[in-house]
């Protein structure tokens, strides 16, 4: 495990005052799913922190553990089969993982809120959207029905849903995909959380609507200084909004860097190959670069570096020793034995 990243605020003392202290610190998080087919290690030793107002993207392909990480932070993992086996999640210094469920509930929605990918299945079809937005105020703040509804209308206005007053009693199916996602955002925003976790918020949307929703999130973030954790597989969206990027592969963080650095000079072969695999203008008519093979099954992650069977630079050490997430110059990290060589491009493709 990456020893070097351990922050020594092990006690549960909230750090007050310091406005630049991280709002969220995730440390050495491990999640496993105990299934009939064996134990799937969905998340292995994930460590990162989020500063106030910052946008962190967690980038990965399906099965890389990015959504499970989010669920573990929110404490909404399906248990069983999913179990957090190790690690801590600290919100302003308080380890919320260790809190009893009753107290933890106060953090969920109020301090950390989440936006899900599929708004249609995340919203309840038999309640009006106004009811569902207002629910946050009724449950967390004990507001009356009438007050909750007024608040709901305000929020719908804030996320630019036209004719909010008329539409507050409509049901989710009466809204378009983009509008439904706005309702999800309204629910997440309702209690002014410090952090919003958006799990593939625009994957189900068309590009023109995606642009609107991403713009809305950026505006809201600028207004309220929330931290945003954006979970996505879309390299385009990430490049547009993220300050910092964490790349996951087979449950591990394999690279972490500021957006510009990551795109211009990746320090891990997986990131490098992934960026190379996007079709681009100057590749027209040529074969695309590919990553051979497929992502590993989480019940059977390859020994050593999980990426080594697909890595064009792999050497014998890669199948023997798991590379730690090492600190790389320029405030970044990489979990590759050969990050130096990857950075200066001196590796030869096998």
């Amino acid at each position: 495990m990456s020893q070097d990243t351990i922050n020594t605020t092990a006690d549960n003392r909230p750090h007050d005052g310091d406005p630049n202290a991280p709002v969220l610190e995730v440390e050495n998080l491990h999640v496993e799913f105990r299934t009939r087919d064996g134990v799937a290690k969905a998340v292995t030793g994930v460590t990162f922190d989020l500063l106030p107002g910052e946008t962190l993207a967690i980038l990965g392909e399906s099965g890389s553990g990015k959504s499970v990480t989010a669920q573990a932070i929110m404490g909404i993992l399906d248990t069983p089969p999913g179990f957090v086996t190790q690690g801590s999640v600290r919100f302003r210094g308080v380890d919320i993982q260790a809190l009893p469920e009753k107290e933890r509930r106060r953090y969920r929605g109020e301090k950390i809120a989440m936006i899900f990918q599929d708004a249609l299945s995340s919203l309840n079809p038999v309640y009006s959207v106004g009811y569902q937005i207002g629910e946050m105020f009724r449950v967390h703040r004990g507001a009356s029905r009438a007050d909750a509804k007024t608040k709901a209308i305000e929020l719908m206005d804030r996320v630019h849903i036209p004719a909010a007053r008329q539409r507050v009693n409509d049901y989710p199916h009466q809204f378009s995909g983009g509008m439904r996602q706005r309702i999800m955002i309204a629910i997440a925003l309702s209690l002014d959380p410090d952090i919003i976790i958006a799990d593939e918020p625009t994957t189900a949307l068309d590009v023109t609507v995606q642009a609107q929703v991403m713009q809305l999130l950026a505006d809201l973030q600028a207004e309220s200084k929330m931290g945003l954790i954006l979970i996505t597989h879309d390299l385009g969206v990430v490049a547009d909004v993220a300050d910092k990027i964490s790349v996951m592969y087979a449950g591990r963080l394999i690279e972490q860097a500021r957006s510009l650095d990551l795109y211009s000079n990746p320090a891990h072969p997986y990131t490098e190959r992934l960026l190379a695999a996007i079709p681009r203008v100057d590749m027209k008519g040529q074969e695309l670069y590919t990553i051979k093979g497929i992502p590993p099954n989480l019940t059977d992650i390859p020994a050593g570096c999980a990426f080594h069977p697909r890595c064009p630079y792999a050497q014998s050490i890669c199948s023997e020793k798991t590379p730690p997430l090492e600190v790389v110059p320029g405030d970044r990290r990489s979990a590759c034995h050969f990050w130096k060589e990857v950075l200066d491009g001196s590796l030869q493709i096998r």
């Binding site: 509008m179 642009a211 597989h233 510009l260 795109y263 695999a277 079709p279 590749m283 670069y289 992502p295």
Partner: protein
């Protein structure tokens, strides 16, 4: 991509229309309207060429694909395959034609029968078109097909669930290739795949095209994938083609406001361009195809809208100062994506 382009199109579509009726009542159904999924489109497809069709959900691109396959019957219009109208064909004559147009579907999880082995799935077309492969040679043909698409021919007795998403899409492609068609309609063939696997499948499509001289109708919403694979691109909006041209004309010199907005909305995987992109933010959503706006269908979201747009529907023609057809009264070229993207 040097497409060997002959003068005769393999496929030509004229005035293709598909309206799905909206009915009311249970016993006495009466038609109260129609969803105008495809509302009069024309295009040509040449041998060995890839025509990309892009647009947002509900624009009619998938319906177009289904109509070409005659999975749905067109309400109006003609589909010429080598000069023969197949839109109204039936029976034996139709079966003979259909062999030549195959489809690869989007979702490799639901488009393969989970109870059939890979061999059965890929070999099933031979049971319908017996003349393509005599009984004795079928097994061999299926194995060859699997090899062509990069699967292990020994896996012929496995079931779909034993394969990954990318491999399943290869099975779908092998099935599409089985009858050695001239045209393959690819309906979002890579959108369910991860980036690292997507590139493999795109390369496979290109390899097969070069090898077999296939023509593709490539339907997708991912504009960079379409750009990579297509020779020509048609942009659809609410059942109409709004602009069509070769890849450079559409991507570098788009003239229809919708094309410009669509292209500018695509996030570019390059953080150095953040804030420097000329992004056009469209307001609102796509109107319902059951009740499209009068005149130009894009006018409700267009920033160039004038009175004429509500009255007169703009035709898809080459307009003054342009080198490719555009269905906008006020079409003018505006480059919205930075073509100087750092390499």
């Amino acid at each position: 991509m040097e497409a060997s382009r002959s003068d005769e199109p393999v496929l030509e579509v004229r005035g293709l229309v598909k309206h799905f009726p909206l009915t009311k009542g249970i016993v006495f159904k009466r038609q109260v309207g129609a969803v105008r999924a495809v509302d009069g489109i024309d295009f040509k497809l040449y041998k060995g060429e890839t025509l990309g069709i892009v647009g947002e959900s509900g624009c009619g691109k998938s319906t177009t694909g289904r109509l070409l396959m005659r999975l749905d019957d067109p309400t109006e219009g003609q589909i010429f395959f080598h000069g023969e109208d197949i839109a109204k064909l039936s029976g034996k004559a139709f079966k003979a034609v259909r062999r030549n147009i195959q489809i690869v579907l989007q979702d490799p999880y639901s488009s393969l029968n989970p109870r059939m082995t890979v061999g059965d799935i890929v070999g099933e077309p031979f049971q319908i078109h017996k003349e393509v492969a005599p009984k004795g040679s079928r097994l061999k043909q299926v194995q060859e097909l699997l090899e062509v698409v990069g699967l292990n021919p020994e896996h012929i007795n496995r079931y779909p669930h034993q394969f990954s998403g990318g491999q399943r899409q290869r099975i779908g492609i092998a099935r599409g290739l089985a009858l050695r068609p001239e045209i393959i309609v690819c309906d979002e063939p890579v959108s369910a795949l991860d980036v690292s696997v997507q590139a493999q499948v795109i390369n496979l499509f290109e390899k097969l095209q070069n090898e077999f001289g296939l023509a593709y109708i490539f339907i997708a919403h991912d504009l960079s994938v379409v750009r990579h694979i297509s020779d020509r691109v048609s942009v659809m909006y609410l059942g109409k083609i709004v602009e069509t041209g070769d890849e450079a004309q559409i991507y570098e010199r788009p003239s229809h406001p919708y094309t410009q907005a669509l292209l500018s909305a695509v996030p570019v995987p390059d953080p150095t361009l953040r804030g420097h992109r000329d992004q056009i933010m469209l307001q609102g959503d796509v109107p319902s195809p059951a009740n499209p706006p009068s005149g130009c269908r894009f006018r409700t979201r267009c920033w160039k809208v004038q009175d004429i747009c509500a009255v007169e529907e703009p035709e898809l023609i080459v307009r003054k100062g342009l080198d490719h057809p555009s269905a906008c009264h006020f079409a003018e070229i505006r480059s919205v994506i930075d073509t100087q993207v750092a390499t």
